[in-house]
C-alpha cells in the first residue's frame, strides 16, 4: 500500500524500472562544474525576458523595459504553497 509521505520533490532513483541498479563506485575524477556567481549589490542586474500572467492576459516581460522605474523582483518556491 502506498504510504503517506511528506511533501517533497520527484527524483529519479537511478536505474531502469525492474532492473538492479549498480551502485557506482565513487570516482576521483575532478568534477567540472560551472561556477555560479551570485549577483552583486551595486552591479547591474542581469536582463531577462520571461512569460507572465498579468490581469487576465499572458504577456512577455523584459526586465530592461522597467529601466527608469524601481523594481522589486521576487522569487518563490511554488504556486499554491503556504508561506
Amino acid at each position: 500500500m502506498a504510504e503517506e509521505i511528506k511533501a517533497g520533490c520527484a527524483r529519479p532513483t537511478g536505474g531502469p524500472v525492474g532492473e538492479k541498479v549498480d551502485v557506482k563506485k565513487e570516482t576521483h575524477e575532478p568534477i567540472v562544474k560551472e561556477v555560479k556567481a551570485m549577483v552583486t549589490v551595486g552591479q547591474k542586474a542581469p536582463d531577462f525576458a520571461a512569460p507572465a500572467y498579468h490581469k487576465g492576459k499572458f504577456i512577455s516581460v523584459k526586465l530592461s523595459e522597467f529601466l527608469g522605474k524601481w523594481v522589486v523582483l521576487c522569487f518563490y518556491p511554488g504556486d499554491f504553497t503556504f508561506v
Partner: protein, 132 residues
C-alpha cells in the same frame, strides 16, 4: 517569479490569490521553467528544482541595490522591503549626500557623511533609534 507555468499562475491567482487580494495580483506573475533566470540570480535550488525566496531591489538604472534570500519554509517581511525601498529612494534623491542609519524610517534623521561626522556618530545617533 517561480518555476511554475503561466497557466498555473493563472489558476493560483484566479482561484486563490484573488480571494486574498481584491482584483488579484496587481503585478506580472513571471514564469521561469527550468530555473534559468533564478540560476543567474543565484536563487535556484537545483536539488529541489525550485527557487528560494529571493527578493531583489533594482533601481531605475537597473542596478541591484539590495537582496534577501530565504529558504522555502520562512516567509518574508514586506514592511521591511518597503522600508528599504524608501531608504534607497531617499538616498538617491539626496544624490549620495545623505545616508540612512540603522532603523531609519521616512521622517527620521539621516546622517550626512563627511569628515566632521567621523567619530561623532555617537553624539547624533543613539542605539535606541535602531528599534523605535
Amino acid at each position: 517569479m517561480s518555476v511554475d507555468s503561466v497557466f498555473v499562475h493563472k489558476m493560483w491567482n484566479d482561484h486563490e490569490l484573488s480571494k486574498m487580494v481584491k482584483g488579484g495580483v496587481p503585478f506580472p506573475m513571471l514564469s521561469d521553467g527550468g530555473g534559468k533566470v533564478g540560476s543567474v540570480f543565484g536563487v535556484y535550488l537545483e536539488d529541489a528544482g525550485v527557487e528560494a525566496r529571493g527578493r531583489f531591489i533594482i533601481d531605475p538604472d537597473g542596478v541591484i541595490q539590495g537582496f534577501e534570500v530565504l529558504t522555502p519554509p520562512v516567509g518574508r517581511n514586506v514592511s521591511e522591503s518597503i522600508r528599504q525601498i524608501q531608504a534607497f529612494q531617499h538616498v538617491r534623491k539626496s544624490k549620495g549626500t545623505e545616508a540612512t542609519p540603522s532603523g531609519w524610517r521616512p521622517g527620521k534623521m539621516t546622517l550626512k557623511p563627511g569628515p566632521d561626522l567621523v567619530g561623532k556618530v555617537w553624539e547624533v545617533w543613539k542605539t535606541k533609534m535602531a528599534f523605535d
